[in-house]
């Protein structure tokens, strides 16, 4: 059932992707896993990095929110600074998720998060403190990680399904 909607949404996103995004399906995988590359706009501290995002749609999508994970490391208050790359995004929290939300909106929210982190709802409290109190240091570290991890094409993990 949900496959129809996912297919429709994928067609939309891949034909007219939101600014900065390229979307593809991993080879031999279902439409439930999307490989997304995001290049944040110049005003972002993460410019000119290219970040890989793994979007997984649960089987009961749209009634459960999509799961968004960064496969590229980044120094960000709302993204775990480890290999998991969990993202804290308000509209994706189970208690806030609305089935009528399109994936395009989710992607736009992710891009906004890279332009403007939300230190008041952090996953990495230490980075959030730094972002709040010592912005130059934070930006420096963020840039350093961009140079270290995000200048090449993102490598997506082999999909399990």
């Amino acid at each position: 059932m949900s496959t129809k909607r996912i297919t429709k949404e994928f067609a939309e996103v891949s034909q007219t992707p939101p600014e900065g995004f390229t979307v593809s399906l991993p080879p031999n995988a279902s439409v439930h896993t999307w490989h997304i590359t995001l290049q944040p706009p110049p005003q972002s501290a993460f410019f000119p990095g290219r970040f890989g995002i793994l979007l997984t749609l649960p089987t009961d999508y749209p009634f459960k929110p999509p799961v968004v994970k960064f496969v590229t490391r980044l120094y960000h208050p709302n993204v775990t600074n480890d290999s998991l790359g969990n993202v804290c995004l308000g509209i994706l929290k189970p208690e806030n998720w609305k089935p009528s939300t399109k994936i395009v909106s989710v992607l736009e929210a992710v891009r906004n998060l890279l332009v403007e982190p939300q230190p008041d709802d952090p996953l990495e409290e230490r980075i959030a403190d730094e972002y709040r109190n010592d912005r130059p240091t934070w930006e420096q570290k963020a840039k350093a990680q961009v140079t270290k991890y995000a200048l090449e094409d993102p490598v997506f993990p082999a999909t399990a399904n």
Binding site: M1, S2, K4, R5, D60, P62, F63, N86, C88, K93, P94, E95, N96, W97, K98, P99, S100, T101, K102, S105, D120, D121, P122, L123, E125, R126
Partner: protein
């Protein structure tokens, strides 16, 4: 129904200060947890004897921030538990312990009780509700006993947070089948489809097609099979028990309701000023899955979905408000003043705090005396059940002893136990039973009955006062204060009718010939109670839910702040503590005491 409670780490954690103390426990997790039983014990001791963690001197952080953060920590902790098997908890944040209460709270809030049963159940006699409440508060007992008189059947709806939406949606389709008019159902398809642009433009739903398609598709299928209503009903039940189908339909109904409210924002904005207007309210309370329907949601649905086709929604509220009947309210509002006979097809819902089921009204009969009468008698029957007196399981079924006979008889329409039961006491009161005093007499009789059957309530229960007051305290003519509006609204002819039946019965020997052994006074000492299956179920569920891990010494109690405790948020099988209203009744000591007092 289900009430999640934040599990306190210590019994005294109501003041903010002990939180800090109790929060010491998770630190002990680091090194103690993998050692199993020892870990549980030691963890508990640190909760019992305050150990001040090093971070307690650090500068206090704003509580709000902790709260927002806690779900991430909870998540991280779970992950570690899951990945490594033996949990190693890395304390990234020195303040993490302080978040422990918050994490516990969050775990309790997000806990989903394992709900059983289908999304939409089969139509069942509503006596089941009466039975379910037999042990509950007397107000519930009385109301649920009266319920089957008006609503013969009900349909259980799964209480997963969608029940109100699901109940209305299902009942809407079912009513259309009842009407059996193919053209009308097809008209509904057209009408709902025409609302599509409204959903996008006013409702601002960027995506609604799939949801709508499922809802319209079901209408079309029902229309196609309307010649065979039985089949149509099967289709309906099947669709609503199919997870994806019903999720789509329910979401469609949510969008309809929200769209109506948004389209009439000027009217409804003031109601939700604290949410910041109707649009914000919809996005917080209606657009989110598994969020229960509220009054405004019902208003929206009633106006957009039901009112245009002249459907009426009547909700029966079963709560603890005073009265002997459920309170009813109709949507749309103006239907409340209208004569029920003049209303269009009506959907009946039963509301119990936080839950909706569908009700089916008994076909209207000629006015008769029996409803109020029968209700009166059954109060006696069930309130004594609720007492938890010694239960004599009837060997060989209910026919084994006279008490059961009475139960069965009382269910026969028009065969009131008042006319049979108190025969021994009847002669004493009959001088006082004048038609004028009939409402009083009603209570008078029951109080007599109870007196002769032993005291059903060992301790004074205030709401039972009308039945328990000794006869002399009733003024013979004036209506007593506890008379409920619904009861006093009962036309007095029926009451007089009831009275006359009763006084006749004292002399009519043919009635007592029918039931030779009905002499309540005979079994006063050990008043027999029909074995109640609900009782057994209840006891079993209690013993199984408080199960402890098998590797624990069977005698030791799991301490509250131990991760072995299922109520601890760190437990992989997390299950928050639940409030069990009957706790004081069911523990051995209490019931033993009562039993002694009663016998």
């Amino acid at each position: 129904m289900f009430q999640a409670q934040p599990t306190p780490y210590s019994g005294s954690s109501y003041s903010p200060f002990p939180y800090g103390i109790a929060a010491a426990a998770p630190h002990s997790l680091d090194f103690l947890f993998p050692t199993g039983g020892a870990g549980a014990g030691a963890g508990a001791s640190s909760g019992g004897f305050p150990v001040y963690p090093p971070y307690s001197s650090s500068s206090p952080q704003p509580a709000l921030q902790h709260h927002q953060q806690q779900h991430h920590q909870q998540f991280a902790l779970r992950q570690r538990l899951n990945r490594s098997g033996s949990p190693v908890i890395k304390m990234e944040d020195q303040d993490a312990g302080l978040h422990d209460m918050a994490a516990q709270q969050a775990a309790a809030e997000r806990f989903q009780p394992g709900l059983e049963g289908p999304f939409v159940g089969e139509k069942t006699p509503s006596d089941a509700i009466t039975q379910e409440y037999a042990k509950a508060d007397p107000v519930y007992v009385e109301k649920t006993i009266a319920l089957p008189q008006t609503y013969s059947h009900y349909r259980q709806i799964k209480g997963d947070g969608n029940c109100g939406w699901r109940a209305i949606a299902f009942a809407y389709y079912e009513k259309l089948i009842d009407l059996g008019d193919q053209a009308r159902i097809e008209g509904e398809v057209a009408r709902l489809m025409s609302l599509g642009s409204m959903l996008s433009n006013i409702g601002r739903y960027e995506y609604h097609e799939d949801f709508a398609e499922e809802a319209h598709g079901l209408l079309r299928d029902l229309a196609a099979n309307i010649a065979n209503p039985g089949l149509a009903r099967v289709i309906l039940l099947q669709r609503f028990n199919d997870n994806t189908v019903e999720a789509n339909i329910i979401y469609y109904f949510r969008m309809l309701a929200a769209t109506y409210l948004k389209g009439n924002a000027a009217v409804y904005d003031p109601f939700v000023a604290d949410h910041g207007g109707i649009a914000a309210y919809c996005s917080q309370a209606i657009d989110i899955v598994n969020r229960e329907i509220e009054h405004l949601g019902i208003v929206g649905l009633a106006n957009l979905l039901l009112k245009p086709i002249d459907f009426v929604l009547e909700v029966a509220y079963l709560d603890r408000s005073p009265g002997s009947q459920v309170n009813r309210y109709r949507f749309p509002e103006e239907a409340n003043e209208q004569d029920p006979a003049a209303l269009g097809p009506t959907i009946y819902l039963l509301y119990r705090p936080d839950h909706y089921d569908i009700l089916y009204r008994t076909p209207v009969q000629a006015p008769s005396a029996f409803p109020s009468n029968a209700a009166d008698v059954q109060v006696n029957r069930v309130s004594s059940l609720s007492n938890n007196l010694a239960i004599h399981a009837a060997p060989g079924g209910s026919a084994g002893f006279p008490g059961a006979n009475m139960d069965i008889l009382s269910m026969l329409p028009g065969f009131s136990m008042n006319s049979l039961g108190p025969m021994t006491t009847m002669p004493e009161i009959s001088p006082m039973t004048t038609p004028m005093a009939s409402p009083v007499d009603d209570h008078y009789v029951s109080s007599q009955q109870q007196a002769s059957w032993g005291t059903p309530f060992p301790e004074p229960v205030p709401s039972q006062v009308p039945q328990q007051q000794p006869p002399p305290s009733f003024p013979p003519v004036v209506s007593p204060a506890p008379m409920t509006p619904s009861a006093s609204m009962t036309p007095s002819p029926t009451m007089m009718n009831a009275t006359s039946i009763r006084s006749n019965s004292s002399s009519s020997s043919h009635l007592s010939g029918l039931v030779p052994n009905v002499r309540p006074a005979d079994h006063t000492p050990g008043y027999r109670i029909v074995f109640n299956p609900f009782q057994l179920e209840y006891d079993e569920s209690r013993t199984t839910t408080v199960r402890e891990p098998v590797d624990q010494a069977p005698r030791s109690t799991t301490f509250k702040n131990s991760v072995w405790n299922k109520a601890h948020y760190g437990n992989p099988d997390f299950h928050p503590e639940e409030y069990v209203p009957d706790d004081d009744h069911s523990d051995g000591r209490g019931s033993g005491r009562k039993r002694r007092k009663d016998s």
